[in-house]
């Protein structure tokens, strides 16, 4: 009997209705039934509150693995994993010194599945940082930041900063030696503008450094106030900011015309597989404009939705696969590698070496020469510089293509070689021969703040990219070179900071050579 036939009155009817209730419940939940027709598939997308941020149809170019690598979705998946595991960890975590440490210990050793959840939380956070960086590199190298997507690139920069902020604030919460000293170093980096204000002797009048540290810690030392501030930032303020920015980020993908693709993407795509759900092949004769409703060209004006496939299932299955892969990787890592927990924080004995999370070790390598230059000046210039890229590179050719088309890869290759050579050369000098203070102990601090391995490296990269702009007569060439150099620099400095620095931040080829301490 079909669901919609009349049921007889009375008890028999009641029983019949009860039997049909589960099917009817499902029907009422999914408004448009099974997505089998083209219309049904579209309905499935825009009839669902969670899915309707997607467009109903997706261009086939966007679905190639090579277009995005799914890195954005993986970053989002990692964030969702940290969200769920983080909320679960909050059941046991107590944000007060010593109690915090003990509660993490409880989570690690006593709470059933606690260690596993903590491990997943930590690994997902790491996966998120890696994938956000890779995602940024993908967008940069495929020139996907260009008009009209400039603003979304800027939102991406804010998301990167928020992601790093989330990781950093989470680092203090275990209240162990690692956490305590990493945050002490971080807070003093926030204070490091004093390096300049002290040198020109105006700290007693203008003290932005001291103010930043005070606001961050709520005190002049890392203590209970700092812990509660970091906790609040970590579990409430930064996640809310992140979710708010994510909403804008996703919305703008839609509004900016989907993922960037080359102008001739349609010609370059192979014919669709016969088994694929049919794609539109003919453009309509009439063009549409949604004047006064949508700014600029709408995706379909004058072109028709040819070469698109329904988002359900083609896009959603891909996204689900990326999500499942992320969960799988995080779970696998969590089974085999535990999140660290050192001794209880001791404000009198610094961890030696005291290391920040790995993605900050490149910066720590730079602050080992000047706290202000390495911790504030250079990161500030890098973030602002990255944000400016789409407003400086106004070229059009190569949008949506890896490395901006032929020749780009060669340029990136050479820039990588140059970038690696420069950073290794400068680090070698600094490690082998020391820096200005060793040669001239009386050198003024301002000189060292201005000229240290970090600023020298940045200047070398800058000059190189200006040279590229002139040589190729293209801003894009300069941007490619600069971005590649910075990636190379980040990589090498991070590796040195992670693997080759030991007690007293001395250079060691391997941790086995560390002196006992």
């Amino acid at each position: 009997m079909s669901l919609e036939t009349e049921t007889p009155p009375g008890l028999r009817g009641f029983i019949e209705n009860a039997k049909r209730a589960p099917r009817r419940f499902l029907d009422s939940m999914f408004r448009s039934g099974k997505p089998v027709t083209d219309r049904g598939r579209s309905n499935f997308v825009f009839g669902n509150v969670y899915l309707h941020l997607h467009s109903a149809r997706t261009h086939r170019w966007s679905l190639r693995w090579l277009t995005t690598g799914g890195l954005g979705i993986v970053s989002l998946s990692a964030f969702l994993i940290t969200l769920v595991t983080g909320v679960l960890l909050m059941f046991y975590y107590k944000p007060y010194p010593e109690a915090a440490y003990l509660s993490i210990k409880d989570i690690h050793f006593i709470v059933p599945t606690g260690r596993f959840l903590r491990n997943i939380h930590r690994w997902a956070a790491n996966v998120m940082v890696v994938c956000v960086l890779l995602h940024m590199a993908r967008v940069f190298y495929t020139c996907a930041y260009r008009k009209p997507r400039e603003f979304n690139w800027v939102i991406g920069m804010l998301l990167l900063a928020t992601t790093l902020g989330l990781s950093f604030t989470g680092y203090l919460l275990p209240w162990d030696q690692l956490a305590y000293w990493a945050i002490t170093i971080g807070a003093n980096i926030a204070q490091s503008p004093r390096e300049v204000t002290d040198a020109v002797n105006i700290t007693q009048h203008v003290d932005p450094g001291g103010f930043q540290k005070l606001i961050l810690l709520g005190s002049d030392e890392v203590g209970e106030e700092a812990l509660i501030r970091f906790y609040l930032l970590h579990v409430m303020i930064l996640p809310l900011i992140l979710v708010g920015l994510l909403a804008v980020h996703f919305w703008r993908i839609r509004k900016d015309g989907g993922l960037a693709r080359p102008a001739d993407a349609d010609k370059r795509l192979p014919l669709p597989d016969v088994k694929t759900y049919p794609v539109f092949t003919e453009a309509p004769k009439k063009t549409y404009s949604l004047a006064a409703i949508v700014k600029g060209r709408t995706a379909a004006v004058g072109a028709g939705p040819e070469n698109t496939v329904p988002s359900m299932p083609h896009l959603f299955y891909g996204e689900a696969a990326a999500f499942m892969l992320t969960v799988f990787v995080c779970v696998l890592l969590s089974i085999f590698i535990d999140a660290p927990l050192k001794e209880l924080a001791n404000p009198l004995v610094p961890e030696n070496p005291a290391k920040a999370p790995w993605y900050f070790l490149g910066l720590q390598e730079l602050v080992a020469h000047s706290a202000f230059a390495g911790g504030i000046l250079i990161p500030g210039i890098v973030i602002v510089g990255l944000g400016l890229i789409p407003y400086l590179d106004r070229e059009k050719s190569g949008t949506g293509e890896w490395f901006g088309g032929p020749g780009g890869l060669r340029l990136v290759g050479w820039s990588a070689v140059f970038g690696l050579a420069a950073v290794i050369a400068i680090e070698t000098v600094a490690i082998r021969f020391g820096w200005i203070r060793q040669w001239f102990p009386e050198a003024p601090q301002l000189l060292i703040t201005a000229i240290n391995p970090g600023t020298v490296l940045m200047a070398v990269y800058g000059v190189y990219s200006v040279w590229l702009v002139r040589r190729y007569n293209s801003t894009r060439a300069g941007a490619l070179g600069l971005f590649t150099c910075f990636l190379a620099g980040f990589l090498v400095l991070t590796l040195i900071g992670t693997y080759f620095r030991g007690p007293n931040w001395d250079f060691f080829w391997s941790p086995s050579q560390w002196p006992g301490h």
Binding site: W181, I215, D220, L348, R437
Partner: protein, 165 residues
Amino acid sequence: MTTDPAKPDPKPSRLDPEAMPRRDFLGIAATSLAFGACGFAAIGAARMPKAAVLPSASKKFKVVLPESLPPGEPFFPPGRSVALFREGDRVHAISTVCTHLGCIVKPMTGGFECPCHGSKFKPDGSVQRGPAPKALAWLSVHAAGGGAVMVDEGTPVPPGTKETL
């Protein structure tokens, strides 16, 4: 300002300007009051993150230097990041908080060194090498009677300031 599209405005006279309609006036007044209130609240809220009294423990402490402390050798009062020196009857205190990124420096032959980024300091606190931007702070010391000294970690004094016991 509202205009009646059916009747185009007559040329406004400079000497007899049209009065602002009451609704416009009320609208502008209400909007500015709302923004003003938000701004006022924001200024108040911005003061909130810094408490009037910082929650850190007292920075003053009393300590008795051991009789056997040789001149030029540092004495580290337990639980404090301070090195105390005594030469004859003159005492001075140097903070052991590194001026670079706030790690605690350790004594070594001929001064102090920082475990975090390898800064080295002479016994008087001045920078010998490494990234530290300035010398270790000298701290205020006062005789507290009975051979004890009162050290104030919160009050730096010019280097070279010593207290006679």
